[in-house]
Amino acid sequence: MSGLVLRGVGAGYGPMRVLEEIDLEVAVGERVGLVGLNGHGKTTLLRAVMGMAGWCDGERSWRGRSIARTAPHELARRGLILMPQGDAVFPGLSVRDNLESGAYLPAAWRRRAARRRRVLDLFPKLVPHLDQPAGTLSGGERRMLSVGRGLMADGELYLVDEPSLGLAPGIATGLVRALMSLELENGAMVIAEQNRSLLGGVDRIVRLHAGRIAEELPAAAAAVAEGR
């Protein structure tokens, strides 16, 4: 069964075109790493899948159904989880509320207690801060919370944007390992990451350059390229 299919996708903001003619397929169960320099379209690609770039054209579908004209909150309902770059938490809400908001949709809401235990097992550092506003967390804790929020939902396709950005190496490694340990029975993952050494767990690496796909490498080859 086909997973994420992008054909001839272009995207940008206002008169500016960031992506051009992107063709990408991610099979169900597959993890794809997205690499490339800053400003070459990684974030825009993830946002375009979610319908959150300024504008976007071309064919986009997930598991056989088009997602090109679906509103972001409807995509969330279909299991597309974007973990945005930076401090994407609700700063005024408590850590607990932030986590529960990830399970906002009715199906996930019923199982939120179990989900929360699972997330807190992955990120035990959040436990002492559960009742404190998310805005008071440290950068690393906020990133954990943002990823944790994504894990609270009935996710299928995870779109992860630069989880390691600005984090201490130890924390970044732990965070990415948590993401790689995720079961992807019916799902898939696209993870944008500058630091290729963190992408050991992916099946394939795609490099973006100037808004186009410059090369696709199997993970092993990518690791070799990194070691060069």
Binding site: M50, M52, A71, P72, H73, E74, A76, R77, I81, L82, P84, A88, V89, F90, P91, G92, L93, D97, E100, S101, G102, Y104, L105, P106, W109, P133, R149, A153
Partner: protein, 289 residues
Amino acid sequence: MDVIFSALSLAAIYGLVAIGVSLTWAALGMLNLAHGVAFAVGAYGGWLAADHLSDSAPVVLAGGVAGGALVGCAIYLLVVVPLYDRPNWETRHLIATLAISLVGANLLLELFGPSAKALPAVFGEGSVTIAGSVVTADKLGAIVSAAVVLGAVAVVLRRSRLGLGLRVLTQDSEGAALVGVSRNRMALGVLALSGGLAGLASVLLAQTFYANPDVGFVPLVKGLLVAVLGGLGSIPGAIVAALVMGVAEALTATYLGQEYVLMTLFVVLAVVLLVRPRGIAGLLEEARA
């Protein structure tokens, strides 16, 4: 003692109106200047229900709530659907809600005429004596039912899934979409709820303000004052502010005279805003920045 009861009954009504203003702001960044129409239509809804159906309390109250909620839905259709996400939303929603407020009041005038309609006293004509002062059943009923409803709304917002959705939306609308919150559905719900609360307030207050086309104006102004004093978007802030304004109004009316009431309320607001630009709860966590 009398002052305390009039303060409480005023606070109850203002709280019901102001929470609608505050919630709408929280969900949409929208200052609903047509909120007074919901209040007025609520009063007529109660009157129509009493006139055509039955003058029992639940029917009249339901008529008021339904009238107000209907206005909320109309505002959703006329303002939020066509204008949200378009350029100049900040200015245009003010203009559109003002236009609705203009049309609404005059439509009521056209339909029902300028004369005031009396609503039945939903809590009966009796009165009780508490701590030496006589309180009419009407006043007591308004205080108790408004307190119950406000408490319920506050609890639902704090504890329920939909309440969380609304709080998330207040914080960050993009993040809200990512977790699956539908802003449109939330907006419709909030506007209908706000309108319903305003309608409820108008029926509860009907023994003081008779149903007439302009009846929504004073509650709109005072509701806005209270919502702003409390810090837009903050429910606890609005409740505290309603109490503050209720006390200020009751004291002023008793010791200085009714004509100084509005002035006092503005002075209170101006002083608080100059000290804390975002109102009483401006420093609390969740007010929309």
